[in-house]
């Protein structure tokens, strides 16, 4: 019974360890891409990988860290700790980056408010200035005659 337990535990350990060793991260791993896409790489992020030596250094570093067991978040944080927020291609999504992220939408909201107020103003003016006649047909025949006249005018226009 004891022997069976040892075998079971050994198998479990092998099952856990072997796959983690076998699935070493590569440049094609999604986790790697997730990290690389967020790094500014000292302004080299959009350079051609094949000719950019800086990108090569970053790629190797990130792979090393991923294979060393660090998570995506930890890797990004390690770069931020070293170079500050400038290590990343985007402003922080926490409180410190609110202005960067929020300003375009604040601008849009302010624009909507201004246009809304202006529309209300000119619309109000229109209501005061004009009388809008709602057309009411006395009969269907009258409506049909009017539609035929409109159609005739349309043909002339063509």
């Amino acid at each position: 019974m004891k022997m069976r337990k040892i075998v079971f535990l050994a198998s479990l350990i092998i099952l856990v360890i072997v796959p983690s060793v076998a699935t070493a991260f590569t440049e094609n791993s999604q986790e790697f891409r997730n990290v690389i896409e967020q790094l500014d790489m000292q302004g080299h992020a959009d350079h051609d990988y094949s000719t950019c030596t800086i990108q090569h250094v970053y790629f190797e570093e990130v792979l090393e860290m991923l294979n060393g067991g660090m998570s995506e978040k930890e890797i990004l944080q390690s770069y931020v700790d070293e170079y500050g927020q400038a290590a990343l291609r985007i402003p922080a999504t926490d409180k410190s980056g609110w202005i960067a992220w929020g300003m375009p939408f604040a601008g849009l909201t302010a624009g909507i408010a201004v246009v809304g107020a202006w529309l209300k103003k000119v619309k109000g003016k229109a209501e005061n200035d004009t009388l809008i006649h709602e057309v009411k047909w006395e009969s269907d025949t009258e409506r049909e005659i009017a539609e035929k006249i409109f159609e005739e005018e349309r043909r002339k226009h063509f």
Partner: protein, 657 residues
Amino acid sequence: MYLIGNITIYLGIVIAAYALIANILGIRKHSKKWIESARGAVLSLIFVSLLASFLLLYFLGTSQFQFEYVASYTSLNLPMVYKLTAFWAGNAGSLLLWTVLLCLYTGILVFSKEKRNPMMPYVSSILLLNILFFFTVMALDGNPFAMTETIPADGKGLNPMLQHPGMILHPVTLYLGYVGLAVPFAFAIGALILRRMDAEWIKLTRRWTITAWLFLTLGNIIGGWWAYLELGWGGYWAWDPVENASFLPWLTVSAFLHSVMIQERKGMLKTWNISLIILSYILTLFGTFLVRSGVLTSVHAFGSGPLGTYFLVFMAFMMLFSIYIVMTRYQLIKKESIPIDSYFSKESSFLLNNLILVAGAFAVFWGSMYPLISEAVTGTKINVGAPYFDSVMAPILLCLILLMAVCPLIAWQKATVERFIKNAIWPLAAGIVSAITLIILGTKGILAVIGLSSTIFMFATHVQEFIQGTRARMRATKENIFRAIYKLIRKNQRRYGGYIVHIGIALIAVGVIASHAYSEEVLKTVNLGESFTIGDYELTFKGLTETTDKGNGIVVADIGTTYRGKDVGTVQPEKVFYESWPEPSTEVAIKTNWKEDLYLVLSSWENREKITLQVKVNPFVSWIWAGGIIMIIGTAVALVGGKTSTVGIWKALRSGR
């Protein structure tokens, strides 16, 4: 020759200053003589700027390395076409290009059939102020005819990335757009100075504005195509600050082209339209400032120097001058506008369109400037790269697509909900069906599905507009379908030209969404004869060869390609080692079909039998280029036939509406 070149620059300053003064005297003294003299001076400016340009082309073409500019951007082994395009490869040459285009535009204007228009001396003066500035800047710090201390045996050569057909077209088209925007700006300011608040300036500049917009569109599309083919990172738009600077005026002019329709029909939005055209013009200067100041890191920048300061000062001056003119005429502008009838009308939808376009411009501007702002405020530079712009602009552009989908269905003045629903039902159904189909087909990414189905909704709306219009014509005139379509467009080129532009935008939107959401990428090291797959492609490494061409070393990889099991030939990504340039250059290999691009970069090699390839499958990228061509066709249709009329305004004003 050196003397003639320099004389052209200084003569340019003198003539531009004279023409400006002559115009001012002519205006003040109501003297036709002075105005005529100014006009003659403009002709001289064209001659002087063309002479300077031809001289520079001659020096470039004949490799006269005693000139600093020639030695910096060309070399003996450079093909002639790139020796000549080096004209705009550097700061000084591009300033001269800007100047010559400005002189030509001014000449076309002052000798046009509108030359007797009372606005023309003012318009000419504003353009001359620009010309004077550009000649002065060239004389101060951007002289293309400056000499080297010692004559080098060979020049430094042109950056290999610039040795591409894109170099012939992209800068010129963008400059034609940038410079073109000075014309409507000058007319707007001229009209304001003369206190002419009607839409005449819009009528006179409609074609100029559309032409400028056409060139901006063309410039941006060609720039994207060039980047995609040449830069090797697999994208076409990097949200680089200078790219953004060319996108900004495109957005504001797009807003203007829509909002002028409201001014023409209802006499509304006069202040807004003037503000938009001023903003667009200022943004062209802003773009030039960014390229030449070095304040922001960009692949397009010419480097840092005092030129940026000159542009900043000029930009500030023109901005303050414009604001002063608008403020002093504000009460006049406010008069005579016709109120809006309904919230649910084309007028309101155009307002919303303007709001979204300007909000988009603000977002791009904010993102581009944020690194500077953050550094100035907190002392820490925060980068704002492509992921930021993708996130911020995606909802804004989605709103724009949805608005383009509904706007053609909304009537002018007062739309009814019933009529709108009746018209929208089929396009909306097309959008919904496409969304369901995409989900059933297993398309991932809910945002991409929303984007694609909204685009299909927009596309269907426009197709329906064509179908309904054609049917109506066929019913009314008994014409055959082809004649009906032709006459439909011919009778209202402005409207249907605009619709064609929208259809082009739909294709671009599909390309952008699909290539962002569904692109596949792999970095693979392979041995000779080894194969690997990406998407529907199977690639086999067949060999690596080295050749020499004009002193440049070229390494070529032969990659056998099959698509869904069918042999589609060999692709050959290259790496070129230039004799006169320190860094190697990537020559991308692209295999295109209607739905995707196979994009290969030879990344590195250990020996002839082991290479590393960077491979991408970019879906629907060719749709972006096709959409760009359709946009150009649509703009040309609107440009050639559109008529601007202010009759509607006066009719409405007379009837008290």
